[in-house]
Amino acid sequence: MGGIQFIINMALGSLIYLGLLIFVVGFVHKLYNVYYKTPQPLKIPQTPQPTTLGGVILRMAGDVLFFRSLSKGTTLLFFSGWIFHVTFFLILQRHLRYVLSPVPACVTFLNQAALFIGFVLLLALIVLLVRRLLDERTKYVTNFSDVFVLLLIIGIVTTGIMMRYEPFRPDVVGVKGFISDLLAPATAVGYMTLHPAHAPASLMFIFHLGLVSILLMYFPFSKLMHSGGYFFSPTRNMINNPRDVRYVNPWDKGSKEEATK
């Protein structure tokens, strides 16, 4: 027992650490060094073009919270996509209860409904997958990676739901202990000296976390960067006032001398 348990402890813990590391470094690197730092030469905001900062914030909030742009075009995709993102977010924030103690009320308020929401999430994912494979046009542009990431998330959600049922229910105290162990700085050092945190003895849990780690590692290299990337989209985040306020091209600042030559 000891040997296998040790290997699992080592593997799972390292995988999670690695996943988190790649995710955080990759995500921040892309957002800052690539999306933020790459210059945008001209103003290209698109209709509806707010002419004030407040307007731009409202517009982007509409896109982020209610998928305004998407809702203009396609109904099925809009609904399934929106439900997927909302339920995903609700479930995700519920996971804070494994990390925070004491657990704040805003994390547990869904207690009764959580399982139901989980099923809605799974359903939305399946609709997205089926649509992708059946809709002639979407199928044409689908790459392997698009199906892969859907399957990955379906795997995560399914294992998550299964853990709510016997005989897959892991020992909650064990799970909490494992996670708080991982969060303690001493544990990270422990891994280097081959003293890993103790993973709960639940295959389903190990699967679940393993898949999550893969998702985290995959995230910064994938289209999932749309999550942070959206905020840098020049057709959406620019104020439409180039006639009144001069927008300066970062690589061609121009000067009066050049202009009057």
């Binding site: 742009s69 995709l77 809709d135 061609d252």
Partner: protein
């Protein structure tokens, strides 16, 4: 897609091969049946793969533009990737849009070229994927490490070049797809980048680049010398004086100290129906009592430099307006009816050369002629007789560069309200086309951004289908018989498309054509 022989093995060969594959052939075309409804077609693979824009071969022109002069260069792969790298580092739009598309499919049925042709590569996301496949292979970690298969990418090959040249010249950069994209991915930006990359390796499209060259050398898209400009404007003036019987009405050229420098597409000087709008502008200025002038130096409002991510060309063309305004000591600049011209003048000009505040601090911003005319109408400076347009029931085709580009009048949605306001101010009957074909969702005329050449007839006809369906709908329902436009390219395109689709050509015209008919000249009431 198979990897082609390394071009260094057989120099010269790659050019011959590519030239063979993208040779321009005149293709037959036919229009789509008009039902008044826009149906999304089934996918028809490769249905437009034979449509290739003609290439520019004049060595002098190519040299002036700074592009290779002998077709595809032998070391094209290197240059291609260098150029792509440069653009990815200079344009946030392109760099970001390469990364964040989720291939959700929301844009797939939004492009007029797809709707008209069914060719799946005309779906905006599929068009952009042509570049993304190269991007993933050469510009991402997984692609560099594990190769093209792993990332659904492509190794560079002549076939890839051919697909690029084919489909990036079947996009009119109209930005309709970006309206519906959850992240605002603007395929136009990607097309502009792709065109410049193709240029850098020696595959240069003819129609658009000839014009980019003429505009820099001669100052207008039609390649007229200064005296030809003067001649045609004098002719316009004589016509005006004759038809209105008012000897003072003028089309001033190079008049120093006028209040307004007026720039407009050079097609307005004599093409039909463009010229009717020029009569209209002249009448508005005359009646408003505002002194104005056109310029031989900046005899062109349009700026085809915008259609390619070659900033220098666009900037140089734009400079002419800036210089002319200073030389003529005008107080402000007003632009005529032209779609992309308005975008450059309103959105980009200030960035490239700064505001016009060196003229009159009161007017640092360029104005659109519709803003000006509506203002005059509202102030009662123009006497209007709407019965002159009684025979017309008008509708408006929102030009995409205006509709999705810049507001007018400093107000949100002004670019829709102001032109409509002008039409309603001079014409009793006005009806809009169905909601999903106008305003921010407007369909392109299908000839914009460099695709107006005769070589593009097959895509021009098919791509015009959505607009033609919408027009035939209001025609049937509301008896509409005038398609009002604010863009020179739209005017040229529709005066060809209406007859193709079985409508009389005379139903096309500019907004200021209507204005010009309704203005009662003479007795000035003043502002």
């Amino acid at each position: 897609m198979t990897d082609a022989k390394a071009p260094t093995d057989a120099p010269g060969d790659c050019n011959a091969r590519v030239q063979e594959l993208i040779k321009y052939v005149k293709l037959p075309y036919d229009h789509v049946e008009l039902t008044g409804e826009i149906k999304v077609p089934k996918i028809q693979r490769d249905s437009m793969i034979k449509v290739h824009a003609q290439q520019l071969t004049s060595k002098d022109t190519l040299a002036r533009l700074g592009y290779p002069t002998d077709g595809l260069i032998p070391n094209w792969k290197e240059v291609f990737l260098e150029k792509m790298d440069e653009i990815l580092k200079k344009y946030k739009s392109v760099r970001l849009f390469m990364d964040i598309c989720v291939r959700c499919g929301a844009c797939t049925d939004k492009c007029h070229y797809f709707l008209g042709t069914g060719d799946p590569r005309n779906m905006p996301v599929a068009r952009a994927e042509l570049m993304r496949k190269v991007y993933r292979r050469y510009f991402t970690w997984p692609g560099k490490l594990f190769g093209s298969k792993f990332v659904d990418g492509w190794d560079l090959s002549e076939e890839v070049l051919v697909l690029w040249y084919t489909y990036f010249y079947q996009c009119s950069e109209c930005r309709r797809c970006a309206v519906f994209c959850p992240y605002g991915i603007d395929t136009a930006e990607i097309t502009m980048a792709a065109r410049e990359i193709l240029n850098s390796v020696g595959l240069v499209q003819k129609y658009m680049h000839e014009i980019i060259d003429k505009a820099q050398v001669l100052g207008n898209n039609l390649g007229m010398q200064a005296n030809a400009v003067v001649n045609s404007l004098e002719f316009v003036r004589d016509e005006l004086q004759e038809t209105t019987e008012i000897p003072e009405i003028d089309v001033p050229i190079d008049v120093e100290g006028a209040d307004v420098l007026f720039v407009t597409p050079s097609a307005d000087f004599f093409a039909s129906p463009h010229i009717e709008s020029l009569y209209g502008y002249a009448k508005v200025f005359h009646q408003a009592g505002i002194s104005w002038t056109m310029s031989t130096h900046a005899s062109e409002g349009g700026n085809f430099g915008m259609f390619v991510h070659n900033y220098e060309h666009m900037k140089k063309i734009n400079k002419r307006i800036w210089d002319a305004a200073r030389a003529l000591k005008v107080k402000r600049v007003i632009g005529g009816e032209c779609g992309h011209m308005w975008r450059v003048l309103s959105s980009f000009s200030n960035t490239m050369w700064g505001p016009f505040d060196y003229l009159d601090a009161k007017y640092p911003r360029p104005q659109h002629i519709c803003e000006f005319t509506l203002d005059m109408l509202k102030r009662g400076a123009l006497k209007i007789d709407k019965t002159a347009n009684a025979e017309f029931t008008a509708t408006i085709h929102d030009s995409c560069q205006v509709a999705r580009g810049m507001e007018m009048g400093g107000q949100k949605y002004g670019q829709f309200e102001i032109p409509r306001g002008v039409i309603k101010g001079v014409c009793e009957k006005f009806v809009d086309m169905p909601e999903n074909t106008i305003k921010e969702r407007t369909f392109c005329c299908a000839a914009g951004q460099g695709l107006l050449g005769d070589d593009m007839m097959p895509t021009r006809v098919k791509g015009a289908m959505p607009r033609m369906q919408a027009y035939s709908y209001v025609k049937k329902e509301n008896g509409v018989n005038f398609l009002a436009l604010i863009c020179a390219i739209c005017k040229a395109q529709f005066s060809k498309m209406l007859p193709t689709y079985g409508f009389p050509m005379e139903e096309v015209g500019g907004i200021h054509q209507l204005v010009g008919r309704a203005i009662v000249l003479g007795a000035k009431e003043g502002i």
